[in-house]
């Protein structure tokens, strides 16, 4: 199999039960951080990037870029699809276009993923500081 530096994928954001539990403990809780600063990827896609679960990846869209922990999606193949749980990390990269109806495109943003072994996954405080200066 050809190793690739970058993959073009479709980004979907959504709920996970871990994110649901995490948010109830608090947005600055370790549970929330663990649940939301990650990205589910297709097993084959991960191979193409030469990475394993736990590796850091950089997700980039026209809106911005964010570093996340990659996790293999356990239940089915989802080639070309990445899934980030709802949260501040996902929102750095989602397409904000509402197509004039109030709703951003939380599911279906075109994105690029690459391995980012040397870059850290930011905490929520670091992320807010970086993006919004607060």
């Amino acid at each position: 199999m050809m190793m690739q530096q970058k993959l073009r994928v479709t980004l979907i954001t959504g709920r996970t039960i871990e994110q649901g539990v995490g948010k109830e403990y608090g947005k600055s809780s370790p549970e929330y951080y663990e649940a939301c600063s990650m990205v589910y990827m297709d097993a084959e896609d991960m191979k193409k990037l030469g990475i394993k679960t736990g590796a850091h990846v950089l997700v980039r869209t026209p809106q911005g870029s964010v570093v996340l922990r990659a996790v293999k999606y356990p239940r089915s193949a989802t080639p070309g699809l990445i899934y980030i749980p709802y949260g501040p990390w996902a929102n750095v990269v989602v397409d904000d276009s509402t197509t004039s109806i109030g709703m951003p495109t939380f599911k279906g943003t075109p994105a690029e993923v690459e391995a980012a072994p040397d870059q850290p996954v930011l905490s929520i405080e670091e992320l807010l500081k970086k993006e919004f200066g607060r």
């Binding site: 479709t10 979907i12 954001t13 959504g14 709920r15 996970t16 039960i17 649901g20 539990v21 948010k23 109830e24 403990y25 608090g26 947005k27 600055s28 809780s29 549970e31 097993a43 084959e44 809106q63 911005g64 999606y73 239940r75 089915s76 193949a77 989802t78 080639p79 699809l81 899934y83 709802y86 949260g87 501040p88 929102n91 750095v92 989602v94 397409d95 904000d96 509402t98 197509t99 004039s100 109806i101 109030g102 709703m103 951003p104 495109t105 939380f106 599911k107 279906g108 929520i124 405080e125 807010l128 993006e131 919004f132 200066g133 607060r134």
Partner: protein
């Protein structure tokens, strides 16, 4: 120690009202009947992430202030704003929501709730074609075909199947729990068999991948008597694991798939092999199941409202239901997320006529999604102040919207130091609705339920309703003083 029965869980739109909470010394020590998220909330609400006192940003840092100072500051911001956004409202009770409408009207702002990033498109779809629906008990008693489309209740509404659909006993339909357990046992048996033959599935990753991408033929059980469960999603979710049949739709192609089903219902021919990744032959069998059921229902979620098509996806989903009703009984229901987002829509609608995205800047309520919705107001950079209550746009809005929000004064009312609070200029801690505050909330099927107060809030912490009333009162004082000034020569 006291044990409190029939507590309504203030988390998701299921609004399970059979929770048993044990309280010792004004502290919840045990929760029974709830899901994992419910336990996390009741056990975690008092965690260290709670805001203990009002905060105001001074020289870049949030510093503790008195309640009066925080209220006055908040009122000043709103009274001086030309076009404030008042957003959130979904994790609080209807009593607070009522005051919220009055406050938004008083300050001529935009009143919007989290539906805008959730089921706003569903409300818009409903405004196009209506919605044939029911209360959840009707489904529990009668539904023999249950479809979850673009939603994963196992993750987002953990007790939905157990309380309202597949795994509940109805008057005319039985629970499928036993047959599901048998199925799971059979699968477990198969796995044992595999390991006995020393064929380890994980050693053949290529094949596993290929297997799930190639569609399985719909099982014969789809045409059986009794309850059936179908899941449609872009990836195999936990709920899909339990289904009689899982349809993996290609991302962004739900609209196509539903139109194809509509065509098949009308006995039209499709000149293609597959639609949205689903073989048409299999789709025909699914359509047979739809038509031949006695009572079917589609539950749908963000998979439809947030992906390409948005409210058009909902419109076509409802149109599909309309078509099906010429053949059998078929209903549809959105899986509402926050425990009282339905209430936010309902209260807003009875007071203004509109369920979300209400603009009071002209003195009367106006609604035009894309124009008066909070997201668009923020993205266009029009607002000059924001009040956020009972929601966390700092964690749920796209970056660009938050960037505008933090350019102008931001008031946050929440029990937790959530992402928005971390970004706020005035942060007012509130009591937990449904734990420390009673009130009313509306379930995803618009059934009203009472929320219970099981413990006292910490000293000095007010309820959302109290905080809003104080702000409203203060805003009126500031405005009347200002009017006196302008009237004086």
């Amino acid at each position: 120690m006291s044990v409190i029965n029939a507590v309504t869980c203030p988390i998701c739109g299921c609004l399970c009202d059979d929770i048993e909470v044990t309280v010792v010394n004004n502290e919840v020590v045990k929760v029974k009947n709830g899901c994992a998220v419910c336990e996390a909330k009741y056990m975690g609400y008092k965690s260290e992430h709670r805001i203990r006192q009002p905060l105001v940003r001074k020289e870049g840092k949030l510093v503790p202030v008195s309640m009066d100072e925080a209220i006055h500051k908040a009122a000043e911001i709103l009274a001086n704003a030309n076009y404030p956004v008042l957003y959130g409202w979904s994790s609080t009770n209807c009593e607070a929501q009522r005051v919220g409408v009055e406050l938004a009207e008083e300050v001529g702002g935009v009143l919007d709730n989290t539906a805008v990033v959730c089921h706003g498109p569903s409300l818009m779809g409903t405004q196009e074609v209506g919605i044939p629906t029911s209360t959840l008990g009707q489904i529990r008693h009668r539904a023999d075909l249950i479809i979850y489309w673009g939603c994963d209740p196992w993750s987002a509404h953990p007790r939905h199947l157990e309380r309202y659909t597949t795994f509940t006993e109805g008057r005319f339909e039985d629970s499928e729990w036993k047959s599901y357990i048998n199925k799971v046992k059979a699968v477990a048996g198969k796995k044992k068999l595999l390991s006995a033959q020393r064929v380890e599935p994980h050693k053949k990753p290529h094949e596993t991948v290929a297997e799930s991408l190639i569609f399985n033929k719909p099982p014969e059980t789809l045409q059986k008597e009794g309850r059936k469960l179908i899941v449609v999603d872009v990836r195999k979710s936990m709920t899909a694991e339990m289904a009689d049949y899982f349809i993996q739709v290609q991302p962004g192609k739900d609209y196509e798939l539903m139109q194809a089903i509509r065509a098949l219902i009308k006995d039209e021919e499709l000149d293609v092999e597959q639609v949205a990744g689903v073989p048409v032959d299999y789709l025909r069998e699914v359509v047979d199941a739809l038509i031949s059921c006695k009572f079917g229902v589609i539950f749908f979620g963000m998979g439809l409202t947030q992906s390409a098509g948005k409210f058009r996806n909902i419109e076509v989903a409802i149109s599909l239901i309309r078509d099906l009703n010429s053949r059998t009984k078929f209903l549809i229901m959105p899986m509402r997320g926050h425990f009282n987002v339905s209430g936010a829509n309902i209260v807003s609608a009875w007071q203004t006529g509109y369920a979300f995205g209400v603009d009071f800047s002209l003195g009367y309520p106006r609604y035009n999604p894309g124009e008066t919705t909070s997201m668009d107001v923020l993205l266009r950079g029009e607002s000059d102040a924001t009040l956020v209550i009972a929601a966390d746009p700092g964690a749920t809005f796209p970056k660009k919207a938050i960037q505008h929000m933090v350019k102008h004064p931001l008031i946050v009312i929440d029990p937790h130091l959530n992402a928005t609070a971390m970004l706020g200029d005035v942060v007012i801690p509130s009591a937990f609705v449904g734990i420390e505050v009673s009130g009313t909330a509306y379930r995803m099927d618009n059934v009203p339920l009472p929320l219970k107060k099981v413990v006292e809030p910490p000293e000095g912490i007010l309820t959302d309703e109290e905080i809003l009333k104080k702000i409203l009162e203060e805003v009126r004082i500031i405005k009347s003083k200002r009017d006196e000034k302008t009237e004086a020569p």
